[in-house]
């Protein structure tokens, strides 16, 4: 690392401060560990909370992408709207 930086914490950068520069890397590792813990810790609650447990089962069974941000990101809106359109355009009325 060089001194050519605009760090918020000056101690974290600069070639003349190798020991101080060590700390940001530790922070980075701790950060990744926290994210890992969040994924597996909070994530595991899905198997413990009753409602969330059923939801997890539904998502797994259907292979749903619950993280989709737009209707084109997964199949269900297309499937649903096409089914509904056929139901409305070709409503069974009999003879």
């Amino acid at each position: 690392m060089t001194a050519n930086c605009t760090c918020a914490k000056k101690a974290a950068c600069g070639a003349s401060a190798p020991q101080a520069a060590f700390s940001p890397w530790i922070k980075l590792i701790v950060g990744f560990v926290l994210i890992w813990a969040l994924i597996f810790g909070v994530g595991s609650l899905a198997h413990l909370l009753p409602g969330a447990k059923h939801m997890a089962k539904v998502i797994d069974e259907r292979g749903l992408r619950a993280t989709a941000i737009y209707y084109t990101d997964f199949e269900e809106p297309a499937e649903g709207s096409e089914r509904i359109r056929d139901s409305l355009d070709y409503t069974p009325r009999g003879k």
């Binding site: 760090c7 994530g43 939801m55 737009y70 509904i84």
Partner: protein, 586 residues
């Protein structure tokens, strides 16, 4: 390694920066215009790839299936086996099912699902794939046997109803019940067999290829605008790598249950780098939040097909297109007048994200009103937390009070922020709730175009000007975020194409061709890159002032509470009092 803890750009805080004045050079020097050209280029490439290659006998088959549907609808007072088969065959026709489309998708695909080993997201051997599918073989065989039995029962019941000329109400009801049971069995069987057919993959070479393609694509754009190509290319792999990590966090087995998608993770990983070791200076030329977002939004414009708003008839329009704008305006008003939000841009971004459709609405609105990056991040964070709560809470409540599936679907479709979470909440209750919820959300998604356009106009004419002074048209033009023009043009052009080729052909060639097979996947990558850059350019400390007094949370809770009550009321009135015949047909 040169590095920086905070952004070194002149105006790094804004999702979109105002240009101040305009000239012809802007057409190739400004990111707004460059994003339009690059977005259009991809859309044209998508059209050129897909439109000349329809599935074999597409028109002939569509006409055949529609004729069967018409004939069967006229024959019996319930949906017959043949009716369902024709409808299902129609849905099975996709331009994306062809080999060339599958090749494109392999290049653009994000990392796959994984459970405990992150490397599973990138590589799965043939042996592992076989081993993963094997435990489900028995269940799939059982489901297939149950399907065969259900079909036999349905055929017998339908034949009995047909023998009575479909005049016997009891036989008709029995046939309808048998056919619905067969449909459920078919659904289960198809899901069970999908679990058996696990495919091997190696995403690494494709991801490297995609990284190179995207680096060159955006590098050329940046070079035209004045950033040295080499500088951009050197920094880009880091941004891309973090975007891949964000996708990997999304696809982890537990995370997908909570709806925590790549935007959240991309920001988190970016923030982690920028606030610990600092974003290396050589990465900064590739940290082009605005450029990626604007190009992604132009592509998103093509996905805003206005004909979709008619998907569920008039009640759908009322629920999605009347309740939503009322909630949006009321929430914004509440934020300004009652709790006095210090930032109008944060207010409108949260209001749009909460009332329209979460992350995608937040991106479009934040870009249209030039919100700060921290404001967009905050809005997305709030949305994801509340989505996780509503995704589990709302269907549980609907089940508890015995809400009808169609009403519950409409209610959840319009009120849960994230589009994917809506489908999950609907599926929690059942098939009908799932499809109604997903369709209502799709109609609401289309509202993004109108929202972004109106917000851009409102900001240019009312917010960004001195009170009491009139603003000239030129002034409005100077201030208007130009990429919105590309966004709107893409939407209009694709809506016209969608309308002119007809609903069925458009589903096969546009929705399940150009869009889902190409531009959508590219758009998602662009957003992943943009969110990574937001993280890389942001300091944690900048979030502090926004949380003072908890105003963003108050705003969100007020808006969401109003929307829950209002939409439930309107949904009930529309689906059960004003248009009960549509509800019955669904």
């Amino acid at each position: 390694m040169a590095e920086t803890k905070t952004p070194s750009h002149a105006e790094p805080d804004y999702v979109v920066i105002d240009s101040g004045k305009t000239s012809l050079k802007d057409l190739y020097k400004k990111e707004d215009w460059m994003a339009i050209w690059m977005g259009f280029l991809l859309l044209i490439v998508g059209l050129l790839i897909f439109l000349p290659r329809p599935p074999e006998k597409m028109d002939e088959n569509l006409a055949k299936y529609n004729a069967v549907l018409k004939e069967e609808a006229a024959k019996a007072p319930f949906k017959t086996i043949e009716w369902y088969n024709a409808s299902s065959s129609k849905r099975g026709m996709r331009a994306t099912n062809q080999d060339f489309a599958k090749t494109i998708q392999s290049f653009l695909s994000a990392p796959s699902d994984w459970d405990t080993n992150p490397l599973d997201a990138l590589y799965r051997s043939e042996e592992t794939a076989k081993a993963m599918g094997a435990p489900f073989k028995e269940a799939a065989d059982k489901a297939k046997a149950a399907l065969d039995a259900a079909l036999a029962n349905a055929k017998t019941a339908q034949a009995a109803a047909a023998a009575a000329g479909f005049k016997d109400a009891g036989l008709n009801a029995a046939a309808d019940k048998g056919i619905k049971a067969w449909q459920e069995a078919r659904d289960k069987s198809s899901k069970a067999s999908a679990k058996v057919s696990v495919k091997p993959y190696n995403r690494v070479p494709y991801l490297i290829g995609l990284c190179i393609i995207l680096a060159v694509f955006f590098g050329i754009g940046k070079a035209i605008m004045g950033t040295p190509f080499g500088q951009f290319i050197i920094g880009f792999p880091v941004v891309f790598f973090l975007a891949v990590l964000a996708y990997m966090a999304e696809t982890q087995a537990l995370m997908k249950y909570w709806g925590f998608g790549f935007p959240l993770w991309a920001i988190a990983f970016g923030l982690l780098i920028s606030n610990t070791i600092g974003t290396p200076k050589w990465v900064m030329p590739a940290a082009c939040t605005e450029f990626y977002i604007k190009t992604g939004l132009v592509l998103l414009g093509a996905e805003i097909l206005f004909n979709k708003i008619l998907a569920i008839g008039k009640p759908g329009i009322f629920v999605a297109w009347v309740c939503t704008p009322i909630t949006l305006i009321l929430t914004y008003w509440f934020g300004q007048k009652i709790i006095k939000m210090p930032s109008k841009t944060l207010n409108i971004t949260i209001s749009a994200d909460m009332s329209v459709c979460g992350v995608s609405a937040a991106i479009a609105t934040a870009a249209a009103c030039r919100a700060k990056k921290e404001e967009l991040t905050l809005a997305i964070g709030l949305s994801m937390v509340f989505t996780a709560i509503c995704m589990v809470g709302q269907p549980a409540f609907a089940k508890l009070v015995g809400m009808p599936e169609i009403l519950a679907g409409a209610w959840m479709g319009s009120t849960i922020d994230s589009t994917g979470a809506v489908a999950a909440a609907g599926a929690f209750l059942g098939e009908k709730a799932l499809y109604v919820a997903a369709t209502i959300k799709m109609i609401q998604n289309i509202l993004i175009g109108v929202t972004a356009f109106c917000v851009a106009i409102y900001w240019c004419t009312k917010v960004d000007c001195t009170p009491g002074k009139s603003v000239s048209w030129w002034e409005i033009w100077y201030r208007f975020p130009k990429f919105v023009i590309g966004f709107i043009i893409a939407s209009i052009v694709f809506s016209i194409i969608d309308q002119s080729v007809g609903k069925d052909v458009s589903n096969v060639m546009i929705d399940h061709g150009v869009l889902r097979g190409f531009t959508r996947i590219a758009r998602e990558w662009f957003f992943a890159l943009a969110f990574t850059c937001i993280g890389l350019e942001t300091n944690f400390k900048e979030f502090g002032p926004y949380f003072k007094g908890g105003k963003p949370i108050t705003l969100y809770v007020f808006g969401q509470t109003f929307q829950l009550a209002f939409t439930l009321l309107i949904g009930y009135i529309m689906f059960y009092i004003v248009f009960p015949e549509i509800t019955a047909a669904i």
